[in-house]
């Protein structure tokens, strides 16, 4: 789909600028966030990043052209058929407090509860990947001070940023075990906080707003607009930034206190402010929409238990959330008469070794993928290319006590169904024994999720990114089938199938054709002698 790229809003007082440099040419593939052009305004020269990945189809301006905010300057083909995304340049948003990104602080009860009160050991929470320690640059509380949940207790300066560390509880600071300037490690106990009946309960929702909303007023420079009411950003902390840099930050609607300085002593440069602005433009309002609101206090309604997610659960959550949000999903449903497949399965099953239909489906999938190569592919939006794979590795979703894993069976088209069954059993066993290696789970080109063993009439699987399609298999049911020749209903096994696919690459008709092809293959009596 062709996206009209417009000059984004780069600051309230900036309504136009000069396109001093255009960094791309027609036909060039661009990635999301890649700088398309340099916009020179009265205040600064700003790099304007692309909001989509795609190919530049048309450039409507020349270098040196005066452009206005909102003006369409390029057309970018993002490669999708009818992309549901309408890329509109995002206005700069006040970023949320860095603290909101920090994981919930870990709390360990230090001693048994005395009556209603209890002393909590407050530990430095896990603030982000690879951050093991930091400097407690500022301690915001004193011993004896009452604090609320989410109130910033201290400022932790890490290699990446200075983060406000919020209290995990409401209570009274009993002891502060560190001094300002102390180096602290994640997990280190830094304060002791007494919680209890003497302290008013924390409100369920504490808004973590450390930044004032961006001012939203424009006025003609030459006229005193009497009713202009700006709410200036309040910069609460001392910042190492030159007056001109602080001024630029205000003009761009950025709280300079939130900009990470890269200069000596953490000094913030003009470039630091622009880089921060660019990140905000790129993130846009999406980040605000995706930001998870704080959870209510469930304990108010009954007993709860909190337990940590294991690694598989964490990875599954991340992976599926990413797949779900980045792939435009469509799910196609169909049913196949699997009577003959059932017979075949039973024929090869022994009382000791029960065959599943999965290995047979794998063979059919491999054949279908050869027939429909776009289902054995990946999408490279950055370069605007489709990657077609000439190998057929099918992943099988396996339910284990620890969670979902997807071992991959390679070169399915070269293996016999019974061998596949053998290999599948081995892998499933390894999965349940937690013995799968990373290699066992890599390199898949298509995934099958068979829930038929459990039941269900149908479901909508999520595409296993970076693959583009997944087959869901539910439980086969005996249904009456009308036979035209005899004019009678005969009982047959009908197998419900669902195919979820990436609509960026696969059109609806192809999705329907692909699944129909699979159904017909299942129904084709001679198939397995052909497939071997």
């Amino acid at each position: 789909m062709l996206t009209e790229f417009k000059i984004p809003e780069v600051g309230e007082n900036i309504s136009s600028g000069t396109a001093v440099k255009i960094n791309v040419t027609v036909g060039q593939a661009v990635k999301k966030d890649q700088s398309l052009m340099e916009l020179e305004t009265d205040k600064a020269t700003i790099e304007v990043p692309s909001t989509v990945s795609g190919v530049i189809k048309e450039i409507l301006i020349k270098e040196g052209t005066r452009v206005k905010v909102g003006q369409v300057i390029m057309k970018i083909d993002d490669g999708a058929a009818a992309a549901p995304v309408k890329p509109v340049a995002a206005p700069i948003q006040q970023s949320t407090a860095p603290a909101s990104k920090a994981a919930a602080p870990t709390v360990a009860p230090a001693q048994a509860a005395k009556g209603a009160s209890m002393i909590i050991e407050f530990k430095i929470p896990d603030v982000g990947e690879n951050i093991r320690s930091g400097n407690a640059v500022k301690i915001n509380v004193t011993v004896g001070q009452a604090v609320k949940k989410d109130q910033a207790l201290l400022e932790l300066e890490t290699d990446k940023a200075t983060i406000e560390v919020p209290s995990s509880v409401t209570g009274i600071i009993k002891e502060i075990l560190i001094k300002e300037g102390t180096k602290v490690n994640v997990g280190q106990v830094v304060m002791k906080i007494e919680t209890g009946a003497t302290v008013p309960a924390a409100p369920a929702f504490v808004p973590k707003t450390t930044a004032a909303p961006a001012p939203t007023v424009t006025a003609a420079a030459s006229q005193p607009a009497a009713l202009v009411v700006q709410t200036p950003i309040i910069v609460t902390k001392e910042v190492a930034a030159a007056p001109s840099v602080r001024r630029l930050a205000r003009e761009l609607g950025i709280n300079v206190g939130q900009v990470a300085g890269t200069g000596p002593g953490g000094r913030i440069s003009k470039e630091d402010v622009k880089a921060h602005a660019k990140r905000l433009i790129t993130a846009g309002p999406v980040s605000a929409a995706v930001a998870t609101p704080p959870l209510p206090d469930f304990a108010k309604y009954g007993e709860v238990e909190r337990k940590p997610m294991n690694n598989i659960r964490k990875k599954t959550a991340e992976h599926l959330a990413n797949a779900w949000s980045s792939i435009p999903h469509v799910t196609q449903f169909d049913k196949a008469d699997s009577t003959q497949l059932e017979n075949l399965r039973k024929k090869h099953s022994t009382p000791e070794k029960k065959l599943s239909i999965t290995p047979f489906l794998m063979k059919i999938i491999a054949a279908a993928l050869k027939e429909f190569p776009q289902f054995n592919a990946s999408v490279d939006m950055a370069s605007g290319e489709i990657i077609l794979k000439k190998f057929y590795n099918v992943g099988i979703a396996v339910d284990t006590p620890n969670g979902l894993v997807v071992p991959v069976i390679r070169d399915v088209e070269k293996k016999a169904a019974l061998d596949l069954s053998q290999e599948l059993n081995t892998l499933a066993e390894k999965a349940r024994d937690k013995k799968l290696t990373i290699e066992d789970m890599r390199g898949g080109t298509f995934t099958i999720s068979n829930l038929g063993g459990i039941g269900g009439t149908n479901f909508t699987p999520i595409v296993n990114w970076p693959e583009v399609a997944i087959l869901g298999v539910a439980r086969a049911q005996i249904e009456p089938k009308f036979d035209k020749a005899s004019g009678q209903f005969t009982p047959v096994f009908m197998l419900p199938l669902s195919l979820s696919y990436d609509h960026r690459l696969i059109d609806g008709a192809d999705g329907a054709r692909f699944l129909r092809w699979i159904c017909e293959a299942i129904e084709k009596p001679t198939l397995f002698s052909e497939l071997g």
Partner: protein, 472 residues
């Protein structure tokens, strides 16, 4: 009574008000400036900074001529024509205020000489000095009415009781002068009268002169003043003042409650200044006035009345001309819709005594009060070649450094020319300079500014002109 309209009215033509009005006009706003004087300038030019600095210049010539004896030059006793000194001082004032009047006209600012009072949130009444009265409606107003000296309630009404304004008028050189209040105004004017020939005593209720100023700087000044001033009475209150023949009889009370009396020809009362927020009709607007008389403002200097801004002394401490001008410019830019705020990291302060004391950013006294961890580095001027050539080694350059980031948080200087030198400190603090930046910037030799560089070197224990044995 006629009614007129203006886009922007600035009430008060001091360094805050005229800076605001001039910028507004330059930015294309139709601007009206209201002040009681015939020209812009305000207290600063008419009755403050400028005339006092002119007289301090005269005082400096006298003290240098006197000190010259030490190096073999004797001018003899100076002959002072006080009428001529006053006339020269007045010329300085009229030259500068007249210049501002021209600049105002060139910018086509509607300058109205008169007194303004608010009748509502969008109109003021102006009583012009010509007697005419008008109503002026406005889109936006900037309040820049400044401050006035605080008076002692028990002081008799007498021409022998001076405030900073009448002291600058220099009617005569009293034989014996008492300065009540050891703040910067009292010390500056006391210095002027002392050098012009008065016998000057200073009385201060606090234990030290210049309360709030770092002691290591204040003590250098005090040591020199003790040589020239008749008496410095700290920890002492003035209980009573009565007019007698040829003078004022003053009753003192020391910290133990002991009373004493002494007679003076004149008494200068310089115990502080208060904001001019009364009799302005602010009760007819939505402006909020604090109990201390300041007008509440936001970082853009907008008051609680969206159409009214306030800058300078009336908008809060410190009451300094350069702070007012900066605020004035910020307010005008805010009114024009620019996203700006008054957010200095360092407002310099200068006491124009001999030696001068100047500081910016955080002071050691403030850091101690806040319990803030700072590294304090000092460089005594005895190690400065330039100070030795000036025969003025009574000086100290001091720097406050953040031990974590090595950023310069504050600079304080006592010594001749400290007021000029502090600008480098302001730049360092505002730019977020680290101590290495000052150390690695070449400073001209031989100048007092080298003390700034050498203070920075001292931070690393490597100053050229100070030897510090290495710890074993």
């Amino acid at each position: 009574m006629s009614t007129e309209h203006t886009k922007l009215v600035v009430i008060g033509g001091g360094p805050g008000g005229y800076a605001a009005a001039f910028l507004a006009a330059d930015m294309g706003m139709e601007t009206t400036l209201v002040d009681m004087e015939p020209n812009p300038g305000g207290v600063c030019l008419y009755r403050g900074c400028i005339p006092s600095k002119a007289l301090l210049h005269a005082a400096k010539i006298l003290s240098e001529a006197r000190d010259a004896k030490e190096i073999g030059i004797d001018f003899g006793e100076p002959k002072i024509d006080i009428d001529k000194v006053r006339a020269w001082k007045n010329k300085v004032v009229s030259q500068m205020t007249g210049g501002l009047g021209v600049l105002s006209k060139q910018r086509k600012i509607n300058f109205i000489q008169g007194r303004a009072t608010f009748v509502s949130s969008d109109a003021i009444n102006i009583k012009k000095t010509t007697g005419e009265e008008i109503t002026l409606t406005f889109d936006t107003a900037i309040l820049a009415t400044g401050s006035t000296p605080v008076t002692l309630p028990f002081a008799p009404s007498s021409p022998r009781i001076l405030d900073s304004t009448t002291a600058l008028n220099m009617e005569d050189i009293p034989e014996k002068l008492l300065v009540v209040g050891g703040g910067y105004i009292g010390l500056e004017l006391g210095t002027v009268y002392c050098e012009l020939g008065s016998t000057v005593s200073i009385v201060e209720t606090m234990p030290v002169l210049l309360p709030g100023v770092d002691r290591d700087l204040g003590v250098i000044l005090e040591n020199r003043m003790k040589k020239h001033f008749s008496a410095i009475k700290t920890n002492t209150k003035v209980n009573k003042m009565e007019e007698i023949k040829d003078g004022i009889r003053v009753t003192f009370q020391d910290k133990d409650g002991n009373l004493s009396t002494e007679d003076y020809n004149k008494v200068l009362v310089s115990i502080g200044r208060k904001p001019n927020s009364k009799n302005l009709g602010l009760e007819n607007t939505k402006v909020t006035v604090t109990p201390r008389g300041f007008v509440e403002v936001n970082p853009q200097r907008r008051t609680t009345d969206p159409k009214i801004y306030a800058i300078g002394d009336i908008a809060g401490d410190p009451m300094l001309a350069h702070k007012a001008s900066h605020e004035g410019r910020v307010a005008v830019e805010a009114i024009a819709g620019h996203k700006v705020a008054f957010e200095p990291q360092a407002i310099p302060a200068v006491v124009f005594t001999d030696p001068e004391i100047a500081w910016c950013g955080i002071t050691e006294t403030e850091a101690t009060a806040q319990g803030r961890n700072v590294k304090v580095i000092k460089f005594p001027w005895a190690a400065s070649g330039r100070a030795v050539t000036l025969n003025r080694t009574d000086g100290l350059t001091k720097m406050l450094i953040d031990p974590e980031t090595e950023r310069i948080l504050g600079v304080s200087i006592c010594g001749v020319g400290a007021g000029e030198m502090i600008a480098e400190g302001v730049l360092a603090v505002e730019m977020g300079a680290v101590v290495s930046d000052l150390k690695l910037s070449i400073h001209p030799h031989p100048t007092l500014s080298e003390t700034v560089m050498e203070t920075a070197e001292t931070f690393f224990g490597l100053s050229t002109h100070i030897y510090r044995p290495k710890k074993a």
